[in-house]
């Protein structure tokens, strides 16, 4: 919560820079130097959970509450159609009362070729939010099963949103996400089954060891109709951020690794997508060598 005066947010510049980053191809990004640790880094909060669990609604309420304390960005990812590459980005529909707040910037992102709940070039976009002086960024993932793992590496605090009575407990145990979340929220808590769901999660969460050791994830009930429940969630986020700040900081290395992994995957995927069928008729070992060579930058290539 930095209180120092700074230039007002240039929404046009940010908007253009985000578009440029979203469209940048992996080869271009791979050539960018790794950034220095920033002087000013936004707190990053990830909101994840199944489709329809209430992520956008919760993000909207949290943003309204937390934008009063500083410059707040929301990056909301929705799935891109694998068929057309297009997307309907509708998360804003649930964040309607937020328009006009000078401190708040919301950007909708298509997941594009990224299948892990995040979006292409998201690490770079998060870094850009630091450069534009944001105090906090809320990152809303696509509602897919594996999003917890990817978002874990990109944010300081992971909030997992669950639906009452959805059989989510077993799903959660299967996917190993109990170890990923810092805060559990059973949303739409006015629906039957919410207290029982919370009790189940509590029992399982105490058995599953939290990945970061000492933190005991709180299990909260929330409802869009009960402002006090949103307030409680916001306070839990603050407590986790404060705890996190006391821990040894391994995020920078973790985030750099994720970025590189994604760039390599996309570089290879791009090469494969561009080949004719006949490319795949040749022997494997040779074609792998050709593929790897083609993914090098031109000056490092063995064969051109």
């Amino acid at each position: 919560m930095s209180a120092q005066p700074r230039a007002p947010l240039d929404r046009w510049a940010l908007s253009r820079a985000l578009t440029q980053l979203a469209n940048a191809d992996p080869a271009t990004l791979a050539r960018r130097p790794l950034r220095e640790p920033p002087e000013h880094a936004a707190r990053r909060i990830g909101i994840t959970g199944a489709p329809g669990a209430g992520k956008s609604t919760l993000v909207g309420h949290l943003a309204a509450l937390r934008a009063s304390r500083g410059r707040l960005g929301v990056l909301a990812v929705d799935p891109s159609s694998p068929k057309s590459g297009g997307a309907i980005l509708g998360d804003r529909v649930r964040m309607d009362e937020l328009a006009g707040n000078e401190q708040l910037y919301i950007r909708s992102l298509g997941s594009r070729r990224t299948g892990d709940g995040l979006a292409d070039n998201l690490p770079e976009m998060l870094d850009l939010m630091d450069e534009f002086g944001f105090d906090e960024v809320l990152l809303e993932t696509v509602g897919v099963g594996q999003a917890e793992h990817a978002v874990r590496g990109q944010v300081d605090t992971v909030v997992l949103v669950l639906l009452p009575d959805s059989g989510d407990t077993v799903q959660a145990m299967k996917a190993g996400i109990m170890e990923m979340a810092d805060i559990f929220v059973v949303h739409k808590s006015d629906l039957p089954g919410a207290p029982r769901m919370a009790a189940d999660i509590r029992r399982i969460a105490t058995m599953a060891r939290h990945a970061s050791g000492g933190w005991v994830p709180p299990i909260l009930l929330s409802s869009a109709t009960q402002p006090a429940s949103i307030q409680a969630l916001s306070e839990a986020i603050d407590q986790h951020l404060a705890w996190q700040a006391q821990q040894p900081q391994e995020q920078a290395a973790q985030r750099a690794r994720y970025r590189l992994r994604r760039l390599i995957e996309r570089r290879i995927a791009q090469f494969v997508a561009e080949r004719e069928d006949s490319f795949f008729d040749a022997p494997l070992e040779r074609q792998i060598a050709v593929a790897l060579d083609a993914c090098r930058s031109p000056e490092n290539r063995a064969v051109v």
Binding site: R11, S15, G85, R112, Q270
Partner: protein
């Protein structure tokens, strides 16, 4: 661009679909949103009953190439003029604006004068909508 597909004539484009004013029907807006998505665009939908000021701000924040306004209330002349004025205030005059809904034929010329690039009517084939927008944004 890496997300481009052979059939995706609107690949890489970002388009806002907005519902200004008080009418409460958005099935038309949703059909257009889906059609544009299937043509490869990333479509940002605002939801119902947004003010012209909200729509213009969202257009800037989301970095869209075009703004589509769906209006069934009969107030299209006022609402379109308002949205375009707000876009100008935010220095977003280079964004293309298109309009759909219940727009009488005799009002179309007026909307074009206000700065609207295309007016779509309910009887227009969806392929035609996509084609017009692809040309507009080429």
């Amino acid at each position: 661009m890496s997300t481009q597909h052979a059939t995706a004539v609107l690949g890489g484009r970002r388009i806002l679909i907005g519902k200004p004013g008080l009418d409460g029907h958005d099935i038309g807006a949703k059909i257009i949103a889906l059609t544009l998505r299937n043509a490869g665009a990333e479509v940002i939908y605002t939801g119902l009953r947004r003010s012209p000021q909200q729509i213009a701000q969202v257009a800037v924040d989301e970095g869209v190439d075009a703004v589509g306004l769906s209006i069934l209330s009969g107030s299209h002349k006022e609402l379109v003029a308002d949205v375009i004025a707000q876009l100008r205030t935010l220095k977003a005059h280079d964004l293309k604006v298109f309009v759909g809904g219940t727009i009488p034929v005799e009002d179309r010329a007026h909307l074009h004068e206000l700065g609207v690039s295309a007016v779509f009517t309910a009887d227009m084939p969806l392929e035609q909508v996509v084609k017009t927008l692809a040309e507009l944004l080429a």
